[in-house]
């Protein structure tokens, strides 16, 4: 992609520079060593099993159904959740983990739609029509009950957004304490000059709103229901 245009920058920033006593954009500003780092104390020393427990507890706060299963039992657990959600049509990401974890075959039998990065219209239309969208979680935050999706050509933005219900499959090893550990990973990518995902989505349960008399309504524009399925690692 060619570089984008920048308009009116010089005069705009010159005005600010005078007022804050800045020198030049060419001279890098050193970030200070912050005097405290409370984010590093949160859940200090928690074990992976404790994080799973915390994630499960947090799910009750965020109106999300929580399941835990093994790799072997994943297909039957998925069938159970589909039944539970009365799901007929399914959309899922183009992600090798679906076959790695042995569920792609079942999804093909169910005539599920696999995200097609070659076709914007078709992929969006299929996601819009689907009862359920399924993705794997890339990073999972125990404290807040959040799945983090680093979107890429196979992991479309719409899969976790347009269907009425959303299922996140969470490998136990993807669970970290909190947002700090996720932003550390992305921060490292930035430092290494790697391209970061064009869309990083931190998703915490189904969509909701309290805009009407401060009453919580679960299910507004995004999914109305959500389920997390944690898989014990092999």
């Amino acid at each position: 992609m060619p570089k984008g245009e920048i308009y009116n920058r010089d005069s705009f920033l010159a005005n600010i520079r005078v007022k804050v006593g800045g020198i030049s954009p060419e001279i890098p500003v050193e970030k200070p060593n912050w005097s405290v780092s409370p984010q590093r104390n949160v859940l200090r020393g928690a074990s992976q099993d404790e994080l799973v427990q915390l994630l499960s507890d947090q799910c009750t706060q965020i109106h999300t159904d929580f399941f835990i299963t093994t790799v072997d039992d994943l297909p039957s657990k998925l069938i159970e959740v589909f039944g539970f959600y009365e799901a007929e049509s399914i959309v899922y990401s183009d992600d090798s983990r679906f076959s790695d974890y042995g569920i792609e075959q079942y999804l093909i039998e169910k005539k599920a739609f696999k995200w097609d990065n070659e076709s914007r219209e078709k992929s969006i239309e299929q996601s819009e029509k689907a009862d359920i969208g399924i993705t794997f979680s890339d990073i999972t935050l125990a404290e807040s009950g959040t799945v983090v999706l680093l979107n890429n050509p196979g992991q479309g933005r719409s899969v976790s957004l347009l269907p009425e219900k959303y299922i996140a499959i969470i490998p136990k090893s993807s669970i970290v304490k909190r947002m700090t550990q996720a932003t550390d990973i992305i921060n490292q990518q930035v430092k290494n000059n790697e391209t970061i995902a064009s869309s990083v989505n931190f998703i915490t349960g189904p969509s909701n709103s309290a805009d009407i008399e401060m009453n919580l309504v679960v299910g507004v524009h995004g999914p109305v229901r959500a389920a997390y399925i944690v898989i014990e690692d092999r």
Binding site: M1, K3, G4, E5, I6, Y7, N8, R9, F12, L13, I16, K19, V20, G22, P25, P28, V29, P32, W34, P38, Q39, W115, D116, N117, R120, S123, I124, E128, S144, T146, N152, P153, G156, R157, S158, L161, M179, T180, I186, N187, A197, S198, S199, V200, F202, T204, G205, P206, S207, N208, S209, A210, D211, I212, E213, M214, V217, V220, H221, G222
Partner: protein
């Protein structure tokens, strides 16, 4: 909608607020709920004071080097193929946004919640060139449908409306036929707006925090509408106030963690969406074209002044949720899209004392706002600075100035002071009844309109003190 939301004078606005029983009840219960949730979330997190300190350090470092970080942000957005427009005024910002809309031949524009676009009256500008702009945040959608009723809270814009009012608006304007249950109202909006997301030519978002080091834009939401407008339309425009920026992802973690807790007591909102440039070529959804509009509109005048810390604000509304004045008068009384303590600080800075000179007085200076601010802005001290500035500019009431002047004169001369204090009980005697003055005159009237004034004591403090000292020495 511009920043100023009413033609009426301050006193009228306040009276209307005080007489609106439903609104006051709604504000009271919302404040209680939000305050409690905030306190629980802060407690659960632990080390809350350290978090605030860190938030303050990050915000003040970023604003002190704002020129550097905005430059870095624009470089990074441009590298990814996004366009960046720096707008010194509202007009410049709107002109650029209109140009993009016209180039794209856009008819329909879906928009997620953004205070800065309200501030610059962006919707009106786009409507003037024939675009349909659809607010998609549920609260903003309700207000837009109701003939552009102004927002009364920066996080919960329709806080002043009850569900039956909302039902009636939906019925009248959209043919809604169901009950006033919030679930049914929300479902109706979901169905109405889904089609709009799919059809929109352009999506417009605000910006909670830009990340300079990666050129990212973070949106903090619950409903999913900001994800829709950044996933479905082929063109995305993001409008940000120039101070809404952090250096890197490490700092993003801190300000987001503070924001979601201070605003609504959530550990994280349902969606934190960090968008970096337009979609990749190989990606199917997301915008093909991305424009970032960075708005000054008076903010740079605050830099380098005693009010610079007002630019640290992360728009959580915690100060609004604890303010006893907001509790009684509601958001519309402030006459600005930015109400409450932060609004009383910010509105005069952005809009000038001519339009907002009463707001710094719409505070009891109790300091509750300063205490809850997650980035430690000394809000009530800033209100005092406003009052001081206005007094120096002689913007205070003539009567108040006269009283202060005569007090100054009287206090300068011991003889005058003596006589005046001795006379006080006699001069006020005709006004007082049972030790109280209920109907004052002149400058006293403003006070006694709402409460009694104690009548001056017959024995002056100095006389009492002298007597006491004499008694003491006699006993000794």
């Amino acid at each position: 909608m511009p920043m100023q939301i009413s033609e009426q004078g301050f006193k009228n606005r306040v009276e209307q607020g005080i007489e609106d029983d439903f609104m006051r009840g709604a504000v009271r219960s919302a404040q209680e709920r939000l305050q409690t949730n905030r306190a629980i979330a802060a407690e659960e997190l632990g080390d809350w004071e350290d978090w605030r300190t860190l938030g303050q350090e990050i915000r003040s470092h970023t604003i002190e080097h704002l020129d550097y970080y905005l430059h870095l942000l624009s470089e990074n957005v441009s590298k990814l193929g996004g366009h960046v427009f720096f707008a010194e005024t509202a007009e410049e910002a709107n002109q650029y946004i209109k140009d993009v809309a016209q180039k794209k031949n856009a008819k329909k524009i879906a928009k997620s919640k953004s205070m800065v676009t309200e501030e610059i009256s962006m919707n009106q500008a786009l409507e003037e060139i024939g675009c349909e702009v659809i607010e998609t945040d549920l609260g903003e959608y309700i207000l837009q449908i109701d003939d552009h009723d102004p927002p009364s809270h920066i996080v919960a814009p329709a806080l002043h409306k009850n569900k039956s009012q909302i039902r009636d608006v939906f019925e009248e304007k959209l043919g809604y036929e169901n009950t006033d249950k919030p679930e049914e109202l929300a479902l109706f909006a979901r169905e109405k707006l889904r089609q709009e997301f799919l059809e929109a030519d352009i999506g417009i978002t605000g910006c909670n925090f830009a990340v300079a080091e990666s050129g990212s834009i973070a949106l903090v939401t619950n409903e999913g509408n900001a994800r829709m407008v950044s996933a479905l339309p082929k063109t995305q425009i993001t409008v940000m106030g120039m101070e809404r920026i952090v250096p890197g992802w490490e700092e993003l973690d801190i300000v987001v963690s503070l924001l979601t807790r201070a605003a609504v007591g959530q550990k994280l909102t349902s969606y934190i969406t960090a968008l970096t440039g337009p979609k990749l070529e190989e990606e199917a959804d997301g915008p093909e074209e991305f424009h970032l509009v960075i708005v000054d509109n008076g903010r740079s005048n605050i830099l380098g002044t005693e009010f610079q810390e007002a630019l640290h604000c992360i728009r959580c509304a915690a100060c609004i949720n604890v303010c006893p004045v907001y509790r009684h008068v509601g958001g519309h009384a402030y006459g600005s899209i930015y109400p409450g303590p932060i609004g009383a600080v910010l509105s005069p800075l952005l809009g000038g004392y001519d339009d907002y000179e009463e707001l710094p007085y719409a505070s009891s200076l109790c300091g509750a706002c300063t205490e809850v601010c997650p980035v430690k802005i000394p809000l009530h001290e800033q209100l005092i600075m406003h009052r001081k500035n206005m007094a120096e500019e002689k913007r205070t009431l003539l009567a108040e100035r006269l009283v202060m002047q005569s007090f100054g004169k009287a206090a300068e001369s011991p003889a005058l002071f003596n006589t005046a204090t001795k006379m006080a009980p006699f001069l006020t005697a005709p006004l007082s009844k049972e030790g109280k003055i209920s109907k004052g005159i002149g400058p006293l009237k403003n006070w006694t309109d709402s409460r009694d004034f104690p009548e001056p004591n017959r024995e002056r403090f100095r006389d009492w003190f002298d007597k006491r000292e004499r008694r003491k020495s006699k006993n000794a």
